[in-house]
Assembly symmetry: D3
Homo-oligomer: 256 residues x 6
């Protein structure tokens, strides 16, 4: 993976980065997608079937294709974030960052002191980056991307505070959960007007804070629209969805 | 998976069956594809990265979607064919059946005596079919599909002989290897005129013998054409190809 | 797995359900036991050797046999509960729910808003149930079974409060830990008089609250007794214990 | 595992050894059964779902319980026999040894020159036995048990010849396949009169040759009978069967 | 593994114990190192690539070599500590114990009531130790080693308090993180004067408290020095470092 | 991995290449060793515990370090050789090539027609090399290294014939088996005078044939000597041996 410029800097400078999104447990899938024209590959440990062992095997395969590996951790499993960075992940997305305390705990595991409390031991990262320990220690906080998910009403209300937490590089918006939260559990509609408004607001606040705004898109079309709107990181669908759409397209042609 | 009518009978009666083709080692992929509108799912142990353990885990996931699981074994690994049937595979494709002896050895591991020499022990198959041992023993030879790959000049020359081997339910044509063989190693062109002619010939001989003709298609469009031509089983592309085409389509939309 | 009626409703309506209890890491074991006459299969991630990857592989094998998969999570690992539901588990048992706060945190990860805070992404569950996203979102809170383990003196004292937490469908009693707790660490005796009394009390309180009472039984005989007493869900022994008793019975016959 | 006396010598001297029979892919199952009162544990790679990786993980767990690990290889996969010995297996059962050539090929992979052609590299075996390379090289042929399966009419007719092959330590009879073979495919009945007669004959010939006779028993009761009849090694049922019988017994008690 | 005397007692009585340190995910590596002249083997789940499934497979291989298996858990994942003891680990090292509350939570999961809150279910431990449930319940708190890592300025300041927590058997010092903490994030230098002074202080306080002091050493030479200084448990380098040093030594000889 | 010049050409042109030798099943080990100063990494599927799934996972990790991955297959498992090339292996070592027929069968699976009979489907190789199908088809026979092991008296006698087989790129000598063979099973002494003489002879014959001579060395010192003698490929010890020597060196320093 390229370290120049570091992933957080690259996302800030744009153009919008498009990321594959992987929830199947087989490391060869992120390996395949990393060789397509994505700018990054996200491994989903929250809603995907990927566990730590699978993530650790996927990271070098993504890196071998020259792409940054980003992982989404399960809700509140912050220790896993450090372990993923140790294994060579370029970034971590933490779901359900709903309080400033959540954001501070997440930042703490993502950054070395004095900024945070990340513990030393980046064995895989040293091997993948080729950096010496001292180099990595000095550069590490700038290399690792910490994205806090904004996906509840509570989070949205304190988005400025979250963006202000030192060590948080940006936010990542989950439209489905946000639609549930904004409707107080009445509907699941990631394209609702309330969500659209929230997306604009969160994006504007991130830009105002000089930080990164990322978002999940269920399709390429939606990704196009969100990237054009200004999101610096847009993930697209999921590996299962891509596989299924590839299959459906082929079957349609085959059935005539 | 449905046992009524058995897979060989179903393929003979038509309409053409379309099969997914899986070479990635993760059982969840055939599981996903089995829930799409394919009629069967092929697990490729010859050129794919699938080993026996992965195949054994994929078979019940395919069966749970009500689809027959078919496996392609590595060249000459006939003992694996029996083991796959034991695990519940509905059929086996054997590559590089180039002599009558190859065909006989393949038939032997696919069918119980007196037709063949398959050894008793279908633990997974009993569990997936719900049949009692005695029932399975009596029905087994009719349930299991044995397809011999025709993919060299030598094989093509004796295709009638191969089709005549008791226990061989049909043939499956590999156009890439056939193009290499027919050109004596001069070219890799699965759509060459020589291959086209060979496809017609082999299909006609299978039909004349009252047996099944299957073929590999690299795309849905090609599958449509081959199914219309009369092949009873047409596999489409590969899981990796479907995943990549899904990704490329999404990226194209996302890049605008 | 049957969704009609949902598992919580089925348990409330009775008759008592008997569950297998699996602690070995191989998914084929719950797969085998799901095809026996158990009403459900529990995968034990607390004291068993089962990790998330193994649980995710076991769930579709249990579902393929038409049975609900229930998982016990490690103490306090609530994020895992959501991930198991995402993968298609029909219920989760949470050990050591010793405070109302524990119960509320557990309920939160088990139920979508407004009842709880479960995050959206039930990929495996959609595939196993065949429901559409909107259907699953509306039905999900009624489908997923949340059982809080009562296994300390502290828990027993607030059992009414725990049963009163919205989103908690019932309790599940662990007699071994309860015997340790009730004796203040003096003895391990899951059949002590103090435990017996506690079982009756907890069962009565659950019934009074109109919620489910489950319990672990080390043997079929004990399960019979506990089911007759009124527990709606009784797990039996463990996979290792069943395997060992099968082996000992066979060896006894073989030694003559 | 005890090396004194070596397993072949121990079986010859008697009393009859009872073996567990494992076909599930999880190494913890042979590990559990090795701690029960079995004299050996067989891992079934022919009809079981066990592949080489699983077998290699099971062997040290069986050895840690002080028991010899024996593996049944798939039909004709003789190279695997050597690899299992390298990994520390105490013996190998080869199915479908139907010709003298089969027997010679099997013996060749089981014994070092000049007796056979086994290649040097017993890494796991050195570690598990604690022997030095020179010691193991000199002792190896006496330590490793080579059992040829007699399970067809053809094999039965040349049983004396098979027993006479240098390096073959004995035979192991498969009653199910034998019943199919003796009835020329008309029936599956491992308890038929023809099988009974064949068992007596094969046992007598093995004893006359001063070699070992082993046999598969589907139950403890049958094992008792076969051991009393004089078989020196009797395997009992399978891990799945033991698990199911343990479950059925518990469920019967629980249903009352 | 030897239980006489229990590991905590053995470490207190000395001589210094030297431990291998494993971060690669393959259980065969701790298995290999356990047969070398180490006194214990540590499996690193914090900075290593080892997950729970891998740890559970490593523990019996270490035990089979007669050595105690010790695991380091990820930061704050205390439930995993109990699960590792259940699987047969002889001890657990918990990183980043920075408050008395951290220490108490760690002790709670390591010890049964009334000392702690460890839940009953030591399936692997019963099998590996051969103890009966009642025996293990009574002996367990004395058998399991709980080491709290001291690796921040905050921890160092309250080291007496941590050592005073009932159920904490001793401390384990992480010099790299300590160097970062003591320099307030200015340097990574595990051999700094500040670290040296802290090592002496922490060692003295552990000795004064009659508890165990352990420490990580990056090399054999450093381990020698730290053991001579009085640390009762000194881990050496890591599996990767040992493999690399073995490789470099061999390559140096080979390059001439 | 570098394709320019292809591995066979590079070995012919010299200087001698030194290879790591891996028998442990974890792909991260060849990954670690590939980043040391070895020129290639051999994965041993004959005497090592590496199966196909593990090899397929190791190959991209070795390639990511820019080194060629070479695999040794089990005796006679020629279909596996093709599958390893498909997965991206740069070469295959086939043990026990004792007849011209063995050599021809090995060459056949290693080379496309008209030279051999390798079947088309190099999915992993295309991905790792970045070549297009047509490019790979034309270049493939020159890229893949086929080394026949000479390790018996019979093989030594026909070494010229083996070297003369089209598609065989060279030989690889196994001194341990050769010592057994040359002494007719009387001794295991890879450094015997008879072996030394055989090494010189085989090396001379390979050079005379313009083909590659490789050899296994148990230590760096021996590798130095054999490389100086003229062998173009010398493997060193094994991963286990390197790990153990690293451990022993560290322990020696630590014990003082
Ligand atoms: Mg979300
Ligand atoms: Mg082909
Ligand atoms: Mg409990
Ligand atoms: Mg048989
Ligand atoms: Mg640390
Ligand atoms: Mg050799």
């Amino acid at each position: 993976m390229s370290l120049h410029p570091p992933l957080p800097d690259r996302l800030k400078a744009g153009p919008p980065a498009l990321a594959a999104w992987c929830g199947l447990p087989d490391p060869s899938i992120p390996g395949v997608l990393a060789r397509e024209a994505f700018d990054a590959v996200v491994i989903d440990m929250q809603h995907g079937a990927v566990d730590f062992a699978a993530a650790v095997r996927a990271i070098p395969l993504i890196a071998a294709a020259g792409k940054p590996a980003v992982a989404r951790i399960p809700v509140g499993e912050f220790a896993t974030a450090s372990r993923l960075l140790d294994a060579g992940a370029a970034g971590v997305i933490a779901p359900m960052i709903n309080t400033l305390e959540d954001a501070r705990r997440f930042a703490a595991v993502m950054k070395f002191p004095p900024l945070g409390e990340r513990s030393w031991g980046p064995h895989g990262a040293l091997s993948l980056t080729g950096l010496q320990p001292g180099e990595y220690f000095r550069a590490g906080n700038g290399l690792s991307l910490a994205l806090a998910m904004i996906e509840t009403r509570e989070a949205l209300e304190i988005v400025d505070g979250i963006l202000d937490v030192a060590g948080i590089d940006g936010i990542f918006i989950g439209p489905s959960d946000l639609s549930i939260g904004l409707s107080q559990g009445r509907e699941l509609d990631p394209a609702s007007a309330a969500v659209e408004k929230a997306l604009d607001h969160a994006l504007a606040r991130a830009r105002a804070a000089g930080k990164i705004a990322g978002v999940y898109a269920p399709s390429g079309e939606r990704a196009f629209e969100l990237a054009r709107r200004g999101f610096q990181l847009v993930s697209i669908a999921s590996d299962t969805a891509l596989l299924r759409s590839g299959a459906q397209m082929a079957l349609k042609a085959a059935r005539g």
